[in-house]
């Protein structure tokens, strides 16, 4: 791209020296400011909708702001800040249960669906007829593109009590399993994990499929020539070559699951029993924004949210260190030669 300063140097009518100097300064300045100009819209959006709310939530987490003192408590004054909310969280009688729920939810959904099922689908659909594989993957995208409320209502219809519930009527009933109970009430965790997993699996499926398809055919052909079975080819050729997307999906989906709660809220709202399927992010939402009699505790709920952010950041750092992301994202050494 040509710059103004370069025009004069290429034989066009030359400018006086003072003007040249001015142009030079201007172009240097322009060169330095241009990136910021491009970044400004994003910076404004991030500042308004991410950074400022983050700071506010952080400050709120040290206050006792709730429905009863809104407009009365001067929450922005440091004199009204304390660590009480954090003490309340960690001494809460149900804290271990909520923490355990969160770990179970993240680990099982991740293992069985967001990584496990995603990898299985990617492997199957890249090893069958290309068009059939594409169609199958398109089907798996349906839960992700269905509006979440509609999607959850469909699951509620599936899990409903006999004779309305589809699973009870057409699957469990004919097999003589159960007594037609409301399955969300009797097996809530199965449905929480299924509902989230069916959406989550499509993310990894797309990344893994493209990564597998990008592996040069020579490698798999060579392994077949050497007499490797399909499983051996997957184990010793495919998996090592998709290590980076595998680790990326694991990290990204862990953090995503930690903070997700909307499907659980719509499906069980943390129930059916007390905190039976209540995860950390849902507790933050419940404390800050819902209560039958309207005593929403914005300060306390914020503390739950901030603690979750801290956990997320720590986990991200651990992942980056343990899986050596730095090395994985380096340029291939062979390209440098």
């Amino acid at each position: 791209m040509k710059r103004k300063g370069e025009i004069g140097e290429r034989g066009l009518p030359s400018l006086p020296i003072s003007l040249k100097a001015k142009n030079w300064v201007f172009s240097r300045l322009e060169g330095r400011l241009a990136p910021y100009a491009f970044l400004t819209p994003a910076l404004i959006v991030i500042t308004l909708f991410f950074f400022i709310p983050l700071v506010m939530v952080f400050v709120l987490s040290f206050t006792k702001l709730d429905m009863t003192n809104f407009g009365i408590l001067e929450w922005w004054r440091p004199a009204n800040w304390s660590l009480d909310n954090y003490v309340k969280i960690f001494t809460n009688r149900f804290f271990p249960k909520i923490l355990a729920n969160t770990l179970i939810y993240v680990a099982l959904t991740l293992a069985f669906f967001n990584v496990g099922m995603a990898l299985v689908i990617a492997l199957i659909t890249t090893h069958i007829n290309r068009r059939a594989g594409f169609a199958f993957r398109a089907l798996w995208l349906l839960p992700r593109i269905t509006p979440v409320v509609v999607y959850i209502m469909m699951w509620k219809a599936l899990s409903g009590p006999a004779p309305m519930g589809i699973i009870n009527k057409y699957l469990l009933g004919p097999l003589g399993i159960g007594r037609g109970e409301y399955l969300l009430n009797t097996h809530p965790w199965v449905f929480v994990i299924l509902v989230n997993g069916f959406i989550g699996a499509s993310f990894g499926m797309i990344l893994f499929s493209s990564a597998i398809e990008a592996i040069p055919k020579d490698y798999t052909t060579a392994s077949k020539v050497d007499g490797a079975t399909t499983l051996q080819t997957i184990r010793y050729v495919v998996l090592p070559m998709i290590k980076w997307p595998l680790l990326f999906v694991t990290t990204y989906q862990t953090l995503s699951l930690l903070t997700s709660f909307e499907q659980i809220m719509l499906l069980t709202d943390g129930g059916p029993g007390l905190y039976q399927t209540e995860v950390w992010a849902l507790t933050a939402y419940h404390r800050a924004l819902t209560s039958y009699f309207g005593n929403t505790q914005w300060g306390y709920g914020s503390a739950w949210a901030v603690a979750l952010v801290v956990i997320g950041v720590i986990m991200a750092i651990v992942y980056l260190r343990v899986f050596k992301f730095g090395e994985l994202v380096q340029e291939p050494k062979i390209d440098r030669l």
Binding site: N69, T268, G271, G273, L274, Y292, T296
Partner: protein
């Protein structure tokens, strides 16, 4: 010349007429001022829509009154009505007030008065009420629910009873005769059929396979006012009359939590907590899967309209469902019920509170209030309303009316919300088997002291 004079004359007349007309329009515009009142109500459609819709008719009446009285003001209504959960509904008002956009008239549960009055978001009505004699017709006891620190802050809108419903068909399967079923409400009223008698009957139904385990007796699936009625039944108190502070009675609390603990562990009941209202709870009770359950009179209309219309609606329900008071805890004890009146409150941001109250006065009259009572099976709020021609057509309202003699209220205290959350969490934990009754009481005492400090009295 003559023509010119004539033309000038015509011009003068046209100008004069024009000036008169313009002047008239301007003066009319100056004389009348249209004021928009925002009315925010919560209603389950279509049964409870009159809570807000009555204001649309009231505005016409009030405008006619204003015109007759020579008052230049006219009112128009901006009605916001939906079925939002109570928590977000209250948040909306508080945050709307913070933004200077509170509705002029806000309908809400009476228990929110304490918090909103303390924050200065609603106005005291005592003096203004005197200008509208219609308010003298409201049943005296209902004013207690809208009184906070000795002053009236809201106009009761409706009332209800929360009966113990029972399924007649299932009782018959248990071997009860028609006579035994018919006298059950009377036995409850006399204290001859207690809460534990109910649990024993429920257990028998479960043991004999008449209902599924857990379905002998149900409460509502989530926190709400009903549980407080049970706490009262076991002798509990929620408010100290001398100080106005909240009270938790540990002895009554222990009996209360033991009842619910026993209901699950010993009597095969309470498989209801956490259920989805429309997905499982209403289909469960209206679908004859539950023997005893606590509900509200307003749900009668809901079941008839939404769940049992195809089976015959109310006619089917009269045949299959019965109701009585919430039984006493011990033989010879006093049964109870709980009324949770909604009330119209006037925001302190309303520029014309006199007109807002005039609108509330219009909708508090026999006609509008009865329309709501009949459509939603809520109890009326006016003296002599049972004699009102159009009120008498509702069999349910007539038969449930005696329950008001046994009714109780929630306390009007700003800290009722946290109190209720903590006491309910303990109950849910006892039902889930996570807490013994003793642990539930310890949890409540610890939680209340930590959360509310000296704002609560532990006895």
């Amino acid at each position: 010349m003559k023509k010119l004079a004539m033309k000038s004359g015509i011009m003068v007349v046209v100008l004069a007429v024009s000036l008169f007309l313009v002047g008239g329009v301007v003066s009319y515009g100056q004389e009348t001022e249209t004021i928009t009142f925002t009315v925010r109500t919560r209603a389950k459609p279509p049964m409870e829509n009159w809570r807000g819709d009555n204001f649309l008719l009231a505005a016409e009446e009030l405008n006619a009154d204003l015109k007759t009285a020579g008052d230049p003001r006219r009112v128009e209504i901006e009605l916001i009505q939906d079925n939002m959960d109570w928590g977000p509904y209250v948040s909306e008002f508080v945050l709307g007030y913070g933004a200077g956009e509170a509705p002029d008239i806000w309908l809400t549960g009476h228990e929110h008065i304490g918090a909103q009055a303390e924050a200065g978001r609603i106005i005291v009505l005592d003096e203004m009420l005197k200008e509208f004699p219609i308010f003298n017709l409201i049943i005296d006891g209902l004013w207690d629910s809208t009184t906070y620190k000795g002053k009236v802050w809201g106009i009761p809108q409706d009332a209800e009873a929360r009966p113990l419903y029972f399924n007649k068909a299932l009782l018959k399967k248990l071997g009860w005769s028609n006579t035994e079923i018919a006298v059950l409400p009377g036995k409850i009223e006399k204290g001859e059929f207690t809460l534990y008698d109910m649990l024993k009957t429920a257990k028998e139904a479960v043991d004999r396979g008449i209902v599924e385990p857990g379905n002998g007796f149900w409460t509502r699936p989530k926190n709400g006012p009903d549980f407080t009625a049970f706490y009262y039944a076991f002798g509990g108190e929620t408010i100290d009359p001398a100080t106005g502070k909240l009270v938790f009675d540990t002895a009554a609390g222990l009996r209360y939590y033991k009842f619910f603990y026993d209901a699950v562990q010993t009597y095969g009941s309470m498989g209801c907590l956490g259920l989805d209202w429309s997905g499982a709870w209403h289909p469960g009770v209206s679908g004859s899967k539950v023997l005893f359950w606590i509900g509200g009179t307003w749900q009668w209309a809901e079941w008839a309209e939404k769940f049992l219309k195809n089976l015959g609606g109310e006619a089917y329900m009269w045949k299959n469902f019965g109701f009585g008071l919430i039984p006493a805890a011990e033989k010879g004890g006093k049964p109870n019920s709980l009324t949770h009146p909604l009330a119209y409150l006037i925001s302190s941001q309303s520029k014309y509170p006199d007109l807002a109250l005039a609108l509330v006065a219009k909708v508090s009259n026999y006609g509008p209030n009865t329309r709501h009572a009949i459509a939603s099976t809520h109890l009326g709020i006016l003296k002599g309303q049972t004699e009102y021609k159009f009120y008498k057509v509702s069999r349910l309202l007539s038969e449930a009316l005696y329950m008001l003699d046994y009714t109780t209220f929630l306390p009007n205290n700003p800290y009722w919300g946290p109190y209720s959350t903590i006491t309910y969490e303990a109950l849910a934990a006892a039902v889930a088997g996570d807490f013994t009754p003793e642990e539930a009481v310890d949890f409540v005492v610890d939680g209340l002291q930590r959360e509310l400090g000296d704002k609560v009295i532990i006895r």
